[in-house]
């Protein structure tokens, strides 16, 4: 059973909590067990059309031509939408808060940059008719060399993924990478007793929610459209849809907040705009649900990362230098990865106080499924690399891995690598409690430490 350990930071606590720390029923649990909870797909509408996407079978290709005539004439098909039908055919996830780049189309027209990129939207009166018509859309592709490795993508001569950027990485205001600098790492490494450099690699990780991404759009009166959606980002998605469709936000009514598992995988607004457009042009209700294959391969995963970590330590356990080179695989388009890479840069070197730090975090484009958010966005993979490295460093100097972390733990007032003072640190107290619960022997001097004695 969960408990709040109140002995830590007791003087900072009013201890008047009535709800936190008590088991309380979720507001939606009765609906869940009775099958009443309404997910976006839990509705039928007379005349509802089914939207199925025509997707690129190539990792990288020019589009020479698209012929939808056979598909559009197929029995049961109402319409086939192409790029020219989309009022503002640019999907810019953070444009409404002034963050570009505008590097991704809603529907591709001249080029496809990842296998699965949407090219055309078929609207039909049954899923089977839509599937048959998808097979009838003729796209003349001219395949291009594709690039899949983040470091190779940054080499001169690598195939260019996205002409918008003119290079295969995002241009930060600080240059090719988001940079963090503190102290002098060269000096730190020179002084260190032991230096360890390791390479870490993660794969793209699919959030794999039980409910697939999608939405159901229903035309409403006064030219409004109601969009039942599984998005994790309701207002975000509404605003993006309004920009793409070039309509005032007041024309859109988003209903949702009930998500059958998101884990960050439902923060990209890839379903709503095209489905709303489909409803606009047909006047019918539209159902657009990713099938399981689309959810696993085409919906955005957590970005793969390649991380080079170099640490210099003293025999007494102090880390004196930390150098990080991190390549985040954004896939073919930016989406939220420039932001995630930013977070990664700030998150390194972890909850440790290190006097000399140099971090370069690159957001790199490859011909892979565009990546985006997932739990601990920007930080989780870095933590994997950092903590494995910490264990290795402890072993190298013959020190207990927990004690090694006590020695380096950040405390209130310590300067972080990105020049923000540490506030509200509690790593030391967490480790003390963990050591107690796990009966992990730790020298008494560490059990007497406090986050509040700043260095």
């Amino acid at each position: 059973m969960m408990r709040i350990e109140k002995s830590y930071f007791a003087d900072e606590r009013d201890d008047d909590l009535h709800e936190i720390g008590q088991p309380r029923q979720r507001a939606d649990v009765l609906g869940h067990v009775t099958g009443i909870t309404s997910f976006y797909a839990d509705r039928n509408h007379e005349g509802m059309l089914h939207l199925k996407m025509v997707r690129s079978p190539h990792h990288h290709a020019r589009i020479r031509s698209i012929d939808i005539s056979a598909a559009a004439a197929h029995p049961g098909v109402r319409r086939v939408l192409l790029a020219a039908d989309v009022p503002h055919n640019i999907y810019t996830i953070l444009s409404f808060i002034g963050i570009l780049p505008e590097d991704e189309p809603v529907l591709a027209f001249d080029k496809v940059r990842w296998m699965g990129e949407p090219v055309a939207a078929v609207l039909a009166d049954s899923p089977r008719a839509a599937a048959e018509a998808v097979a009838l859309v003729q796209v003349d592709y001219d395949p291009l060399p594709a690039i899949f490795d983040v470091e190779e993508a940054m080499q001169p001569g690598a195939p260019l993924v996205n002409e918008y950027h003119g290079q295969n990485w995002y241009a930060y205001d600080s240059g090719d990478a988001r940079k963090v600098r503190l102290g002098d790492v060269a000096k730190g490494f020179a002084e260190a007793d032991v230096v360890l450099e390791q390479r870490y690699q993660s794969s793209p990780i699919e959030q794999a929610p039980s409910e697939t991404s999608g939405c159901v759009v229903v035309p409403d009166q006064n030219g409004r459209f109601t969009c039942y959606t599984g998005t994790q980002a309701m207002f975000f998605s509404l605003t993006n849809a309004a920009i793409i469709l070039d309509v005032p936000e007041s024309k859109l009514h988003f209903v949702g907040g009930t998500v059958g598992g998101g884990f960050g995988g439902k923060t990209d607004t890839v379903c709503e705009p095209i489905a709303i457009l489909a409803s606009m042009v047909t006047g019918q209700a539209i159902s657009f649900q990713f099938n399981r294959h689309e959810e696993m391969q085409m919906s955005s995963p957590r970005a793969a990362e390649r991380i080079y970590l170099k640490h210099g330590v003293m025999k007494d356990g102090r880390i004196v230098a930390c150098e990080v080179r991190c390549y985040v695989d954004s896939g073919a388009y930016s989406r939220l990865s420039p932001y995630g890479t930013n977070k990664a840069a700030a998150h390194f070197p972890g909850p440790y106080t290190i006097p000399n730090v140099a971090i370069d975090a690159y957001c790199v484009y490859t011909n892979r499924t565009p990546s985006s958010a997932m739990r601990g966005f920007g930080c989780t993979i870095g933590d994997f690399a950092l903590e494995v490295q910490m264990d290795k460093l402890a072993r190298l100097i013959g020190m207990d891995p927990l004690e090694f972390r006590f020695i380096n733990a950040y405390r209130d007032g310590d300067m972080k690598a990105h020049h923000q003072p540490t506030e509200g640190a509690a790593l030391i107290e967490c480790m003390q409690e963990a050591a107690k619960i796990a009966h992990w022997p730790v020298d008494p001097r560490f059990m007497a430490m406090s986050s509040r004695k700043g260095s």
Binding site: K52, P75, S126, P127, R128, A129, A131, E132, V134, A135, N291, R292, H293
Partner: protein, 274 residues
């Protein structure tokens, strides 16, 4: 275009019905209806066989057991006389899948599916197929080698095999998710012994390591006339390595399958716990 769903009370008639283009014979639906849902529009007719001959579990004169092609995994699990075979049926999926998946469906299922078929291969089963005019008895190896061509028009009436003596049937499915995953590999082994306790006619079958379940004949030959000792087991392992042809798939890479195959085969032969 909507699908047609045709039912036949006689499996011979079903064979004729299945001869038309665009028709597929339905087992439990675990693979075929899935394909329809995923947008496969290459067929438009489903054939259901409702002939009791295909759902019978019988003892055949001569001591053989006959399982109808439409017998589900759940029925195999619940049949007392087949308790020794239950581990193979239990591995096919969770309870709902087992209530639907059939013997015939599993024989046709492409790698990495086909765990029950792997057991049938180790049992040296005969596959009884309907032609449009006659019944054909095929050794299971021949069926597996030609199953793509046989799929459309030759419904499986039944499989026949002898129960292995004593406790000589061993089965293990290796999967990444602990409870019910797709197979990294499946191993089914029958080790009959003679009066002196020496192995005679070993049958070692593995699934998900080639396009169909295959017999590891090199390992079988290495065990002939021997008992299970560390030496004979190593000889069997050494003789087996070239006989598999795994591919990369979403479950595991060919490299991984090659690397762990000898480990699992050794454990099976040595009788180690999972």
């Amino acid at each position: 275009m909507t699908l047609r769903y045709l039912r036949y009370a006689d499996v011979a008639d079903a064979a004729s019905g299945a001869a038309r283009p665009g028709a597929r014979i339905l087992g439990g639906g675990t693979l075929l209806v899935r394909d329809i849902n995923m947008g496969d529009v290459s067929f438009d007719t489903l054939i259901r066989i409702e002939d009791p001959a295909t759902t019978a579990i019988d003892n055949v004169p001569g001591g053989a057991i006959s399982l109808g092609g439409g017998v589900t995994m759940a029925r195999v699990v619940s049949e007392p006389a087949l308790a020794w075979l239950a581990p193979a049926a239990l591995s096919v999926g969770g309870p709902a899948v087992r209530a639907m998946a059939t013997v015939a469906g599993n024989l046709h299922a492409p790698a990495p599916y086909g765990d029950f078929a792997t057991a049938l291969l180790a049992l040296d089963a005969k596959v009884v197929l309907h032609d449009e005019t006659a019944l054909i008895d095929l050794p299971i190896q021949d069926f597996l080698a030609h199953r793509r061509a046989l799929h459309a028009r030759h419904p499986i009436r039944a499989v026949r095999f002898h129960a292995p003596p004593g406790h000589s049937f061993r089965f293990r499915k290796v999967s990444r998710t602990r409870v019910k995953g797709l197979a990294v590999m499946t191993l089914a082994i029958v080790l009959p012994t003679d009066a002196d306790g020496l192995i005679r006619g070993a049958r070692i079958a593995c699934g998900a390591l080639a396009e169909t379940p295959v017999r590891i004949v090199g390992a079988e030959a290495a065990l002939e006339g021997r008992s299970l000792t560390p030496d004979s087991i190593e000889a069997a392992i050494a003789a087996s390595v070239g006989e598999i042809n795994p591919v990369d798939d979403a479950i595991a890479s060919a490299w991984y399958r090659r690397a762990v195959f000898p480990v699992h085969l050794r454990r099976m032969l040595a009788g180690d716990a999972a």
